[in-house]
C-alpha cells in the first residue's frame, strides 16, 4: 500500500514535470514562430522597398529617354572642347582657332545626341592573342539654330557650352 502511494506520487510528479516541459516547448515554438514571422515581414518590407526602387529607376530611365511629342520641344545642352594648333602667331589667333574647334566638337555632340552614332568594331586575334582592335564611329547630321551659352579658355583648352531647342515641327517638315 505504501509503495503504491509512493508510485502514484511519483507518477503525478513526473506528469507535472512533463506538462511543464510541454508548456516550455510550446512557448519556444511560439517564440520561434514569432521570430520567423518577423523575419518574413522584414523580407516582405525589403522586397517592397526593392520594388519601389526598381520602379523609381525605371521611371528615371523613362524620363531620360524623353521622346519628342507633338506640339512639344526639347532642350539639349552640350560642351565642346577644342585645342589651338602649336604654330599660332598670337594668343588671340590661338583662342580663335581653339574656339572654332570647340564649336565643331559641340556640333558633333549635338548631332550624336539627336541622330545617334554608327559604330563599327573589328578585333583581329592570332594564336589566341589580340593583334589589333579597331572601333570606328560615324556621325552625319545637319544642325541649325544652335546657340553658344558660354565660352571658357584655360591653359590652351577652349570649352564651348552650346544649347539647342528642338521642336516636333522641325522634324515634321
Amino acid at each position: 500500500m505504501r509503495y503504491s502511494v509512493l508510485l502514484a506520487l511519483l507518477l503525478s510528479v513526473s506528469s507535472l514535470f512533463a506538462s511543464e516541459r510541454d508548456a516550455t516547448t510550446v512557448e519556444q515554438t511560439n517564440a520561434e514562430l514569432k521570430k520567423v514571422r518577423a523575419e518574413a515581414a522584414q523580407i516582405r518590407e525589403e522586397l517592397a522597398q526593392a520594388k519601389a526602387q526598381k520602379e523609381e529607376a525605371f521611371a528615371s530611365i523613362k524620363a531620360e529617354e524623353e521622346l519628342l511629342k507633338k506640339n512639344s520641344s526639347m532642350h539639349i545642352s552640350v560642351v565642346g572642347q577644342g585645342v589651338a594648333p602649336m604654330n599660332t602667331a598670337s594668343p588671340a589667333q590661338a583662342y580663335a582657332l581653339a574656339k572654332r574647334a570647340a564649336i565643331a566638337d559641340a556640333y558633333r555632340a549635338i548631332a550624336e545626341k539627336v541622330k545617334g552614332v554608327r559604330i563599327d568594331g573589328q578585333d583581329t586575334i592570332k594564336n589566341m592573342m589580340i593583334q589589333k582592335s579597331t572601333i570606328r564611329t560615324y556621325v552625319q547630321a545637319m544642325v541649325k539654330n544652335a546657340n553658344i551659352v558660354e565660352t571658357t579658355f584655360k591653359e590652351g583648352l577652349c570649352e564651348v557650352e552650346m544649347e539647342i531647342m528642338i521642336s516636333h515641327s522641325d522634324f515634321a517638315q
Binding site: 564649336i103 556640333y107 579597331t134 564611329t137 556621325v139 545637319m142
Partner: protein
C-alpha cells in the same frame, strides 16, 4: 488732254519705277560655300568660297544679315572686314556635320567636317550697310 491728277499719277509711277529699278541694279546674287575640318580637336583647314552667280538663282530670301557701317561694294572685302560675325551667321543658318572617329588599340583619332553647301545669297549694297540673305 490729260487732267492734272492724271499727270501727277503718271509722274509718281515713273519715279517709283526709277527708284526701285536703281535698287534692283544694286542687288546681286552670290554663291557662297564654307567648310572647315577639325582633326583631333584641332582646326586643320578652313575654306570660305565666294563667287558671283553667273545664272539667276531661284527662291525667296530667308534669314537676312546686315553688315552695318559698310559702304564697300565688293562682297569679299565686306565679309573679310566682318569675318567673325559672318561665320557666326553661317553657323546659325545650319551646317552639315560629318564626324569620323577611329580608335585603334585604345588610341583615338577623329575628323570632324562642317560644311555649308554652296548656297545662293541675295546681296543688297546700300550707302551705309550691306544686306545679305540666302535664297531658298
Amino acid at each position: 488732254m490729260r487732267s492734272r491728277d492724271g499727270n501727277n499719277d503718271f509722274s509718281l509711277r515713273l519715279c517709283s519705277i526709277i527708284i526701285f529699278g536703281s535698287l534692283a541694279l544694286n542687288a546681286s546674287e552670290y554663291l557662297i560655300s564654307y567648310k572647315y575640318i577639325i582633326e583631333d580637336i584641332m582646326l586643320y583647314n578652313e575654306t570660305l568660297l565666294i563667287s558671283e552667280a553667273m545664272t539667276k538663282c531661284h527662291g525667296k530670301p530667308q534669314e537676312e544679315f546686315i553688315f552695318s557701317k559698310s559702304d564697300n561694294k565688293d562682297l569679299k572685302k565686306v565679309i573679310s572686314e566682318n569675318a567673325t560675325e559672318f561665320i557666326d551667321y553661317i553657323h546659325r543658318l545650319g551646317l552639315h556635320i560629318e564626324h569620323k572617329g577611329r580608335t585603334t588599340n585604345l588610341q583615338n583619332s577623329s575628323t570632324t567636317t562642317l560644311v555649308l553647301k554652296t548656297t545662293c545669297f541675295k546681296v543688297d549694297f546700300n550707302d551705309n550697310f550691306v544686306k545679305i540673305a540666302p535664297l531658298k
